[in-house]
């Protein structure tokens, strides 16, 4: 976090301009009429303008702000930014302060601003600290750079707006938008339409699924004997159960397109991938991520929240312009469209085993929870 000296400015805003106009009119009337009561009112109005600057200027001089940001945020979900505000004043506190942000994003546009509900607080006593919370609305995944905290107040009379800008840089990784996936539809899509659906092979173990039949060995429990099959065979056959394993999902995101395609569709594909990863994490699966054409190395199979964040971080900082359109890295398809390859299997299989399904953006719409 980089911190530099605050920058203080005064601004006129509509109530102040109106007040100034009225003051000028009263002043002109006072000069023209020579009525001392008008002079008094004119003097009062001028003193209000001066007090407005002095009181709030002194208030702002004693202001210290520190931003508290979460390390990650999600596109489409309001991000709450907290500010620890401290008043270094000895006698007077801070009143009616609003805090907003100046941001810049991955797109490199200077001063790219996100709509923000300012953090407001009514009072912070002398020598005290308060926490104020603002809400930032971010619609796109990015590596968001919060550069400047802008505090402003029109206290005490609401005539002159004073602002202090603190340069404090904080980076926040904004994850792609995640939508809930309908598990039933997802399984159906994986099982039914995959072009490379292969048989399911596992190790014997103590799970619930059937692994096969074998000859009876000493020590096998009698309950595992398959009596009907044994009757047709020469000896006793027992039912062998498959080992209990967790499902694994290797997700391959292919964003290559001959003419670079529509960025909005690419973003949708990224969001699709993020949603699938979140779905996998919520079911306790092992999951990994590979982005075809990107320089980043594939993220291996792991499970857990931390791993999900790692994958989402990869997706967040993905630069679409850096996607290499190299068909040798393709996962086997020649179709030049945004799509997501999903390989689903269990941990005992190698990567090529299990269900391997290509899902397109059309499927994304169908897989959303609540979609008809």
């Amino acid at each position: 976090m980089r911190v530099s000296a605050p920058r203080r400015r005064y601004h006129w805003h509509p109530p102040g301009v109106l007040f100034l106009l009225m003051t000028v009119l009263v002043g002109a009337a006072a000069i023209q009429r020579g009525e001392n009561l008008l002079v008094w009112i004119f003097a009062t109005a001028l003193s209000w303008i001066v007090v407005s600057g002095v009181v709030s200027g002194a208030m702002m001089m004693a202001l210290e702000v520190r931003r508290i940001v979460p390390p990650h945020a999600q596109a489409g979900t309001p991000m709450r930014v907290k500010y620890r505000v401290r008043s270094r004043g000895r006698v007077f506190g801070l009143f009616s302060l609003s805090i907003t942000e100046r941001t810049s994003g991955l797109s490199g546009l200077p001063g790219l601003s996100c709509p923000m509900e300012p953090a407001r607080f009514v009072h912070c006593g002398p020598g005290e600290s308060v926490i104020a919370e603002g809400t930032l609305r971010i619609d796109e995944r990015q590596r968001l750079l919060l550069t400047t905290i802008r505090c402003q107040a029109a206290f005490p009379f609401g005539l002159i707006l004073k602002s202090v800008e603190f340069t404090q840089e904080s980076a926040v990784i904004v994850h792609p938008r995640v939508v809930p996936i309908d598990d039933r539809m997802f399984r159906r899509a994986i099982a039914g339409t995959g072009p490379h659906a292969v048989r399911r092979v596992g190790r014997p173990g103590w799970g619930d699924d059937l692994h096969g039949l074998r000859e009876f060995r000493a020590g096998d429990p009698l309950r595992s004997v398959a009596w009907k099959r044994s009757a047709r065979a020469d000896g006793l056959l027992v039912i062998e159960r498959a080992a209990a394993t967790s499902t694994r999902m290797m997700l391959v995101l292919d964003l290559r397109h001959p003419d670079r395609g529509d960025p909005a569709r690419a973003e949708e594909a990224i969001s699709f991938a993020a949603s699938l990863l979140a779905h996998a994490e919520s079911h306790g699966w092992l999951f990994g991520l590979e982005i075809v054409g990107a320089e980043e190395a594939p993220v291996g199979l792991l499970r857990g929240r931390g791993h999900l964040i790692r994958c989402l971080d990869e997706l967040s900082v993905l630069d679409l312009s850096s996607i290499v359109d190299d068909h040798r890295t393709s996962a086997g398809s020649s179709s030049p469209a945004h799509r997501v390859w999903v390989t689903l299997g269990d941990a005992s299989l190698r990567r090529q085993s299990g269900w391997r399904t290509t899902l397109s953006l059309t499927d994304f719409a169908a897989l959303r929870k609540g979609a008809v």
């Binding site: 002079v39 007090v51 007077f92 506190g93 609003s98 006593g125 020598g127 005490p156």
Partner: protein, 751 residues
């Protein structure tokens, strides 16, 4: 009372005071009473929810009232000057409505704005004490109201609601007790600073002397009811004012308060010439004026020869209450004058009137005294008025219609036709006798019931090609004293009678035991003097006396009972605020500069005296200089040391993050944690500044990126610092030395 109620009460009070200011400025007792009643009523019914039909009814009533008022009063209010009045009435009505329909903070802001508009309009109209008091109260009250409304609006925004919308009370009451104390402190400080600045700006605001503009201006007339000229060009309604113009103490020849036998006529200005083009009466040119420099210790006689003052000489003591004027108001006949300060007066022997020579300096005229002989001897008259030996030319009047009317009246009364040139010119005694007789005929004519006395001239419409005096005499036949006096003087002059108009005050109310007479604006009057001798002018008053006197009597105020209380305040208000002009500014600033100069001189002389005393033989010698130099150097060194210590303590406190509350603990932490501050200073000297928000251990990691060895040493320092700062560990001497050695090691590692 909740904070919500508190804010509402303050705003209600502000609205009531602003309404009162407006009502008093015009003035209107029903309006003032209504303002108070609306304020009280709205406050009492604040918790009552007004239903939609009732709201519509109230709004409809107000709109109809505004529209009707504008339509009815458009004839009178269509002038540019009346626009503020019209705006004021509309705003006042809206303010009343708004006090009943208050739901949001936006409504409260409207009350603030409307109160401000009313205050400005009131100040445009009047600078009376009561209006001024209301304006001052509003300016002070508005500080608190504005700040509280602003904070409440922000609180509403912070609470999730849109600023200025939604519920009212919740946001105000959400401000807790502790912020409320802080807010009160801030409001108090803001009020004091604003008041101080207002006073400073008020004092230094560029002004011109008030008398130069307002003696003949409308505002002066409004204050005193007296004007130095008579203009018949724009007949308008006159509102009686009970404003006290002056206090007159009437002392008899023995110096004791005397009782008046007849109404006291205070002559101010004498008008002899009528200009039909401007339709105004003007005084005659002052060719034979006498300039008098008065001495505050003794009377200055108005004649070059002494006048016998032993008999029948009264003293008229005048204290000006409002609108000081260069015109000296005197009963007939003044023979000597004394100013309270040294003044130059101009005496016009022909009209026997006085005025201050310098209109600019008349603003400083607090009062004066006159020696008056109500029945002067012929010798005194001659000395005073210095009549010329030749008989004056017979006057004429420039309006033919009036001349014809006068001729008809005289013919009807059996007098010879004044237009008949065949009649011989009259000698002095016959001419004076004729003057008195003819003036009596015209006076009786005007006092007949066919002429009506009224102050309301709204229906006195002027006609193209006809003079207002002619219209009064032949068509309208109603008017106030200026019209009656103008008519008599015009008829007389048209008949060749020497006549002139006198404007001043007539008063018959001698209420106080000490002979003090209160002269009010409503006592302003105009009458006629007709020449009945070489140095003798007789008073004729054609205005129906009963009506005029009843009007004047009506103007006596109930506040007279509290005059002992209000007069000092009014004096203070008039001199320090209402009449504060360029001269008062200069005087105040020069007094301030003089005080400063005296203070500086006093300090310097004290220093020099002390220095001289410390020198040898009372001479300001080497020892004295040495003493002064040593004192100055000591003070300078002490200041420098104090600044260094304060800065160092502040630096340490900030670096160690100590609060001011636990002083004993902070002192110990500052002593034992000094090594950490030294370490930070060493790092800063090496270009490794610690950004304020990051904790020490994170700073260690940053240093490690650049200098491993320094990071290692500083890490140890940070550990020890944590033990001192947060572990409340107290260090002995050996530990302090050890820490100092660590800091030295850090410095070495940074090289």
């Amino acid at each position: 009372m909740t904070k919500d109620d508190g804010l509402r009460l303050r705003l209600t009070l502000l609205a009531v005071v602003a309404g009162l200011a407006f009502a008093l400025a015009f003035p209107s007792i029903p309006l003032a009473a209504s303002s108070v009643a609306v304020g009280v009523w709205s406050w009492r019914t604040r918790a009552t929810k007004m239903t939609l039909p009732t709201r519509r009814l109230v709004m409809g009533f107000c709109l109809v009232t505004i529209a009707g008022g504008v339509w009815l009063g458009w004839g009178q209010l269509a002038t540019l000057e009346a626009v503020p009045v019209l705006v004021g009435y509309v705003v006042l009505l809206l303010l009343w409505v708004r006090q009943f329909l208050r739901r949001t903070l936006g409504d409260e802001r409207q009350i603030l704005v409307m109160s401000g508009v009313l205050i400005v309009i009131a100040a445009l109209e009047s600078s009376d004490l009561l209006v001024g008091g209301c304006v001052l109260a509003c300016t002070l009250l508005a500080v608190s109201c504005t700040i509280r409304v602003h904070v409440a609006t922000h609180a509403q925004g912070a609470d999730g609601g849109r600023p200025g919308r939604g519920g009212f009370g919740a946001s105000v009451d959400a401000i807790g007790a502790h912020p409320e104390r802080d807010l009160r402190r801030t409001i108090f400080a803001s009020t004091i600073i604003a008041l101080g600045l207002t006073l400073a700006i008020f004092v230094f605001f560029p002004r011109s002397p008030i008398p130069s503009r307002s003696f003949l201006g409308a505002s002066h007339e409004r204050e005193s009811g007296f004007s130095e000229g008579i203009s018949l060009r724009e007949p308008r309604r006159i509102d009686l004012t009970d404003q006290e113009v002056m206090l007159v103490q009437w002392l008899g020849p023995d110096g004791k308060p005397a009782i008046l036998a007849e109404p006291l006529r205070l002559r101010g200005q004498v008008l002899e010439r009528y200009d039909p083009a401007t339709q105004q009466w003007h005084p005659r040119d002052r060719a034979r004026n006498l300039f008098l420099v008065t001495d505050p210790t003794s009377f200055t006689t108005l004649t070059q020869e002494p006048i016998d003052e032993r008999f029948n000489t009264y003293t008229q003591r005048v204290t000006l209450r409002s609108a000081p004027s260069p015109v000296i108001f005197s009963a007939w006949a003044p023979i000597a004058v004394r100013g309270i300060t040294s003044q130059v007066f101009v005496f016009d022997p022909r009209s026997a009137t006085l005025r201050a020579m310098d209109a600019e300096s008349a603003g400083d005229l607090p009062g004066y005294e006159l020696r008056v002989q109500p029945a002067p001897s012929p010798e005194t008259r001659r000395l005073l008025m210095r009549p010329s030996a030749a008989l004056p030319r017979r006057p004429s009047f420039p309006v033919a219609a009036v001349t014809n009317h006068a001729r008809q009246l005289l013919l009807a009364a059996g007098e010879p036709d004044p237009a008949d040139t065949s009649l011989p010119a009259l000698a002095a005694p016959e001419r004076w006798e004729r003057n008195e007789r003819i003036a009596g005929i015209f006076e009786r004519e005007l006092l007949r019931s066919t002429y009506e006395y009224t102050l309301d001239l709204d229906e006195f419409t002027l006609m193209e090609g006809r003079d207002p005096i002619d219209l009064f005499l032949t068509t309208h036949r109603f008017g106030h004293c200026e019209y009656f006096a103008s008519a008599l003087a015009a008829l007389c002059q048209a008949s060749g009678v020497d006549a002139r108009i006198v404007v001043g005050f007539v008063v018959d109310d001698q209420s106080a035991d000490d002979g003090t007479i209160v002269v009010r604006g409503a006592n302003a009057h105009a009458w006629v003097e007709v020449r009945t001798g070489d140095a003798h002018w007789k008073t004729f008053d054609p205005t129906p006396a009963a009506a005029a006197m009843s009007d004047a009597a009506r103007a006596s105020a109930w506040t007279d009972s509290f005059a002992w209380l209000t007069r000092p305040i009014e004096d203070l208000w008039r001199r320090q605020i209402a009449r504060f002009d360029a001269r008062a500014q200069t005087s105040l600033l020069s007094r301030g500069a003089e005080t400063l100069r005296e203070a500086a001189e006093s300090i310097i002389s004290t220093v020099v005296r002390t220095a001289v005393r410390s020198g040898s033989d009372g001479v300001f010698g080497l020892a004295a200089w040495a003493w002064i130099a040593s004192v100055l150097v000591s003070v300078g060194v002490a200041l420098a040391i104090a600044m260094i210590v304060v800065r160092r303590v502040r630096h340490r406190r900030l670096a160690l993050g100590l609060s001011r509350r636990d002083r004993a603990r902070a002192r110990a932490a500052m002593r034992d944690g000094a090594f950490y501050v030294d370490a930070l200073d060493a790092l800063a000297a090496a270009g490794l500044h610690r950004p304020a928000p990051i904790p020490p251990r994170a700073f260690v990691r940053r240093i490690a990126e650049r200098n491993e060895a320094a990071a290692h040493v500083f890490g140890t320092i940070v550990d020890r610092f944590y033990a001192v700062r947060f572990g409340a560990r107290r260090l002995d001497a050996s530990e302090r030395e050890s820490n100092a050695a660590l800091v030295d090691a850090l410095r070495l590692s940074l090289r």
